[in-house]
Symmetry: C2
Subunit: 285 residues, 2 copies
């Protein structure tokens, strides 16, 4: 599972909070989704090969939480509990694939040859980590000029029975299998701040430098209470650091707002990093 | 790819003509789909493990035909022709996965823990035949009490670029990988006739016996003009014979109408074959 012959210019994450309204059940942010789709069109027109991964936002989360899908089957002991858990798995999966259908439709509408690649029916997972997945299918789609569209999904888990496979974990696996030139996270905030963005004195960190041991030099508030406020940003930072380290610095990661005027430039990688309203996470030289 | 440790009691095909109106673009037959879904519920209540495969009917066919997806990329030589073909692939895929979403929703609504398993993002295909596919994922879903739902789909093809992978080919692969107890095709006709059902003297063949070399003893009109009239029935017969032969007679195949009152009995396998309004295809002893 290390298809290093395949080069991917851009793996882009459409954040769940960026393309859906997290507070309203199964609601997309149409305008933001269209912006993101048009960005992929621009990248393709510039000759870049792309893979899109999106989060779930207000699709799937509600069902996954209600039925505790991420705890697996191990907590269900009676037949009724098992039936309930299975129902939750099915409803969660249908909800996230419904969003996937909307995302792929939007991409196709603007002229991107997008192909839904839902992980739940093909990724082998154990203890929430991918064990085997159809890397050759994804590579084949990219080589033939398509844009595979993956997403966070519920999967059968060898040990736990079932679990949620996050979009961030999927991106790490993709970066591990393919030689990836850059990863961009489209968020609902401008990037990564030194503390929660709504606190006084919060500053956007334009550059975060990672040592080969995964430690960073910048001061970023990482306490649990900060996590609550910044949402998934801390997890994104962890994913970003992992990608930079596992690629030995060859794959830089960027976090930017889906509404940033620099978004296309960040994805295309055309201009100077320092002018962008974004956070770059790169290896410390 | 021969997971013989997994037993499947029933692989059932929801025929494209049976669950959609073939003459009207992207239109399902709600009543028929509900009947089929309730049949699966009955089978599950009787303790049977099931896999559902459905055809495309008026979903996907229109797009696949217009863009000639089944001819592959080999006929496209210019950039515009390639872009056109890719667009056709994407539109076809979105249309069949839209039907898949409706089928899975209907199954979940009646209490069946159905999970969409779209082949286009995970089946490796060469010259229209499956080379590798996630048999362990399908087996894992069945073992955990789910009902995987697959469908005819467009796939990346190693030699042709792209192609249509038919539901019938998928069923043959499933039967090859798993020890399958019975296969049922739900059609829009009562079964297989000795000549096209609308011709005078056409008789329903209640039993077709297959020799180990794949030849059958009954007289079935198989000329091209008959094919045109009987729709996909001739192809179903070919698939059925292949399944019986490859299983060395261990897996009988049945063709029956989605509207037959015997349909549940055929799927459950409870009653005497001779009373059913259906065609059984079995090995000649």
């Amino acid at each position: 599972m290390n298809n290093t012959n395949t080069f991917i210019d851009l793996i882009i994450k459409f954040g769940g909070s960026a393309i859906t309204d997290k507070n309203t059940f199964e609601t997309i942010k149409k305008e933001e989704l269209l912006i993101a789709a048009n960005c992929i069109r621009s990248c393709r027109e510039a000759g870049l090969s792309c893979i899109v991964v999106h989060g779930a936002g207000s699709f799937g989360h509600h069902q996954a939480k209600r039925y505790q899908v991420n705890d697996g089957f191990v907590t269900a002991t009676t037949k009724d509990e098992l039936d309930f858990k299975r129902q939750g798995f099915c409803l969660t999966r249908q909800s996230v694939t419904k969003l996937n259908q909307l995302v792929v439709n939007c991409l196709i509408d603007v002229g991107v040859p997008a192909v839904a690649c839902s992980p739940g029916s093909s990724w082998e997972v154990d203890k929430k980590l991918p064990v085997r997945w159809p890397d050759e299918i994804i590579a084949g789609l990219v080589e033939k000029g398509f844009v595979p569209v993956l997403h966070g999904d519920c999967c059968v888990d060898k040990t736990l029975g079932c679990c949620i496979l996050s979009g961030d974990t999927i991106i790490k696996s993709l970066c591990n299998a393919f030689t990836t030139r850059r990863v961009v996270f489209l968020a609902d905030v401008a990037g990564i701040y030194n503390r929660p963005p709504d606190q006084p004195g919060a500053q956007l960190l334009k550059s975060i430098l990672v040592n080969s041991d995964g430690l960073i030099q910048e001061s970023v508030c990482t306490s649990q209470s900060c996590n609550d406020v910044t949402g998934g940003i801390q997890l994104k930072l962890k994913t970003a650091i992992d990608i930079v380290v596992q690629s030995k610095g060859r794959c830089p990661v960027f976090v930017t707002s889906i509404k940033s005027p620099d978004m296309n430039e960040v994805c295309l990688g055309k201009d100077s990093i320092n002018h962008w309203n974004a956070t770059s996470i790169t290896m410390h030289s």
